[in-house]
């Protein structure tokens, strides 16, 4: 089943056209990695897909349900608020700089939305939260506050927070870019473990080796368009497009 479909997405900021007609499909269980140079529109694409940014044109569909459709004048029309609220439950987003809630303890960061948004009981939320913290090897940090954690630990809390709501699709926007190099490994491992459990994920990353290992499908974006896409063996090992080759050559060790 198609978990996510983006059709003919366009997005401008003022005169700057950042996304020029991008279409993307993500199947259940698929891991898609998005790579591309700085300023190519990767974050904007993710922000449109997670409804943090409005789309100028195009369609956004989760599990066959329209979050955004094309109106009669060709402009993008968002679904009514009730529908959007439901669709927000289909995806989660892990931010580059975590965006944990500093006034909540670790466990509260993970459980608060379960209680406030999903109206689960406190006990049920706590059970889900503890389970996820255990999975993230953070059980001993349950009552710590975000400022007391390392960057890697904070990012694991934010992954647990996103997973708690049981999303169908999990987005990551450069989940390791704010971390010290020696801490990126622990986050990449968590994402690999999720991939092994068939979590559907869309990951924007500058870690090319990681993208090749974890992704089923690589999308290379430059200048607001998809320049090349396909399995990692093709896009990363044998890129056909000159721009892809030029971009990747910067990562050769």
């Amino acid at each position: 089943m198609k978990y996510l479909e983006i059709r003919n997405l366009r997005k401008s900021f003022g005169d700057l056209e950042v996304i020029k007609d991008i279409s993307l499909e993500v199947e259940e269980g698929q891991v898609v990695a998005i790579i591309g140079p700085s300023g190519s529109g990767k974050s904007t694409l993710l922000r449109c897909a997670t409804l943090l940014e409005t789309m100028d044109a195009g369609e956004l569909i989760y599990l066959g349900e329209h979050a955004v459709r094309t109106g009669p004048d060709g402009k993008a029309v968002p679904a009514p608020p009730g529908q959007l609220k439901k669709i927000r439950g289909y995806f989660g987003l892990v931010f580059q700089n975590f965006n944990l809630f500093p006034h909540f303890s670790v466990i509260r960061n993970v459980t608060d939305a379960l209680i406030t948004v999903q109206k689960k009981s406190k006990e049920e939320a706590l059970a889900i939260g503890r389970d996820l913290l255990k999975k993230m090897a953070l059980s001993d940090k349950e009552n710590a506050y975000p400022y007391q954690l390392s960057g890697g630990q904070q990012q694991r809390v934010s992954i647990a927070r996103a997973l708690a709501l049981n999303p169908k699709v999990l987005f990551f926007d450069e989940p390791t870019s704010a971390l010290d190099p020696e801490l990126t490994g622990e986050i990449l491992k968590v994402i690999k473990d999720l991939a092994a459990e068939n979590m559907t994920m869309v990951i924007v990353t500058h870690e090319i080796a990681f993208a090749r290992d974890v992704a089923d499908h690589i999308v290379f974006i430059d200048g607001g368009v998809i320049v090349e896409e396909g399995p990692p063996e093709q896009v990363i090992n044998n890129p056909r497009n000159e721009r892809t080759r030029a971009f990747l050559s910067r990562f050769e060790r």
Binding site: R88, F95, N99, F101, H103, V117, P146
Partner: protein, 214 residues
């Protein structure tokens, strides 16, 4: 006048000062938040009306504002003169709400947009986001500035003397001129200082209470 009588009279005035202080905070702290929200509103008319109100409150002396609230109804509208105490509270609340509003606004605008975005993606409604996620962080950040205003308010209560509300300073002045003595002023000064000390201690305690996060 015996010393104990002096103290008793001043204490009565002190109680009025405390009442002005507490009632002003009780009304101006919530009103200030509403004013701040209006100031940040996308509705240009509302935003500019509030901006004008704030600039008047901050740009003219409080002592003058108190006189306008007290004398204004009669001299401007021909209405009966309001109760002195009520006029004092209204004057203080209007003035302090404007100052608190600017403090709230600074606090709210200082919160990283990522906090709103994280909450939105997690499915929090706008009001849930504001109440559960944003405000607790705002309160912690603005506490030092609020403490400053609160301390200023204690001393400002003496301005109620302009419209002859018998708060402590008014009482001290009356006794001092009747007795040709500065002792009442000294006693009043001590009262204000102790009052301040208590309030500062309470504010410090609240700040400590919020030390658990950063």
């Amino acid at each position: 006048m015996e010393f104990t009588v002096l103290v008793a009279k001043l204490a009565e005035g002190m109680w009025v000062s405390v009442e002005i202080f507490l009632l002003t905070l009780l009304f101006s702290l919530p009103l200030g938040l509403l004013v701040a929200l209006g100031r940040m509103s996308r509705n240009l008319i509302l935003k500019n009306v509030i901006k004008f109100y704030i600039s008047i409150m901050r740009g003219t002396p409080l002592i003058l504002q108190l006189m306008v609230v007290y004398f204004g109804p009669y001299f401007i509208f021909g209405l009966p003169t309001p109760n002195r105490f009520l006029a004092t509270i209204v004057g203080f609340v209007l003035n302090y709400a404007a100052y608190f509003a600017e403090i709230y606004r600074g606090g709210i605008e200082s919160i990283d947009v990522g906090q709103y975005e994280a909450a939105q993606v997690l499915g929090y409604s706008r009001s849930q986001t504001f109440i559960r996620i944003i405000m607790p962080q705002v309160i912690k950040r603005i506490l030092p500035a609020v403490t400053n205003e609160v301390i200023t308010l204690i001393k400002d209560t003496a301005l109620a003397f302009t419209i002859s509300v018998s708060e402590m300073f008014t009482v001290a002045k009356a006794i001092a001129s009747a007795q040709s003595s500065v002792l009442p002023f000294v006693a009043a000064g001590i009262f204000y200082y102790v009052f301040n000390f208590i309030v500062a201690t309470i504010m410090e305690w609240i700040e400590k209470k919020l030390d658990y996060f950063r």
